[in-house]
């Protein structure tokens, strides 16, 4: 699933400029993982996976960098700080912000075909 479609499904907005890069149109996501616990995220291989989280801190972005995640969906319009945006953009990670909850985002993306991570 392409990033724009994911963003449309969750009625989100891109909060960094990364969607204009060539990687943006190439990225194709097949799985999603929802967690506020970064150690849990670090347990799995996260290739082609979207992370849905209510945790909006610099460590959310660092976890993405370490785990090769390239798309974060921040639930319930949590504030995304400038240092998060800078690190994400520098690391070629897209951040989507939405007012939907983790539960709603997970349901919407599952219904539209993204698979879970085990």
């Amino acid at each position: 699933m392409k990033l724009q479609k994911i963003c449309d499904i969750v009625e989100g907005t891109f909060i960094n400029e990364f969607q204009y890069s060539p990687e943006y149109s190439k990225a194709d996501y097949t799985k999603a993982f929802a967690s506020d616990l970064m150690s849990d995220v670090l347990r799995f291989s996260m290739e082609n996976t979207v992370l849905i989280t209510g945790l909006s801190t610099i460590q959310t972005v660092r976890t993405a960098v370490i785990s090769n995640l390239t798309c974060l969906i921040i639930a319930r319009d949590k504030r995304v700080t400038d240092d998060m945006i800078n690190l994400a953009t520098e690391s070629r990670i897209s951040i989507i912000s939405t007012k939907a909850s983790v539960y709603e985002i997970s349901g919407l993306l599952y219904k539209n075909g993204l698979k879970p991570v085990y």
Partner: protein, 136 residues
């Protein structure tokens, strides 16, 4: 190739910076991507442990053609019971650590899972030493 980093205890905004730097360095070598990810996860969890529990620490990286060895040494309260600390779910982390998405007692088990050798020793009241090795 050797690299050394200083880790400041309690500095949650900088926590993970050293590990991400090491990850981008080792990515330039001919190391399988899954090994790079495993090394990065182990280093990040270990770095966050120093940030979360110690006053200060160092991370010394020794990168060789066929393996990487990383030693973390910190000054801090140390670990009273290493066997207990290795149990999944056991944690002494503060609320602040938990608010950053860590402190659920998964750090040390995650490190063990991602490396080929792990040696953990500690002197309570003085500090902790963790050595990890991943073979390519």
């Amino acid at each position: 190739m050797k690299m050394q980093y200083f880790i400041q205890g309690g500095d949650f905004s900088a926590g993970g910076r050293a590990s991400t730097e090491v990850k981008s360095t080792i990515k330039q070598f001919n190391i399988p991507p899954d090994k790079v990810r495993r090394i990065a996860v182990a280093l990040y969890e270990a770095e966050m442990n120093v940030v979360a529990h110690a006053y200060r620490g160092t991370m010394n990286v020794d990168l060789r053609p066929d393996f990487i060895r990383v030693v973390f040494e910190d000054e801090g309260p140390g670990i009273e019971d290493i066997e207990k600390a290795m149990e999944e779910g056991f944690s002494t982390a503060s609320d602040k650590v938990r608010q950053m998405g860590f402190g659920a007692g998964m750090g040390l088990p995650n490190i063990k899972k991602n490396c080929d050798e792990m040696i953990l020793s500690s002197i309570p009241g003085k500090g902790t030493r963790l050595e990890i090795k991943v073979v390519f």
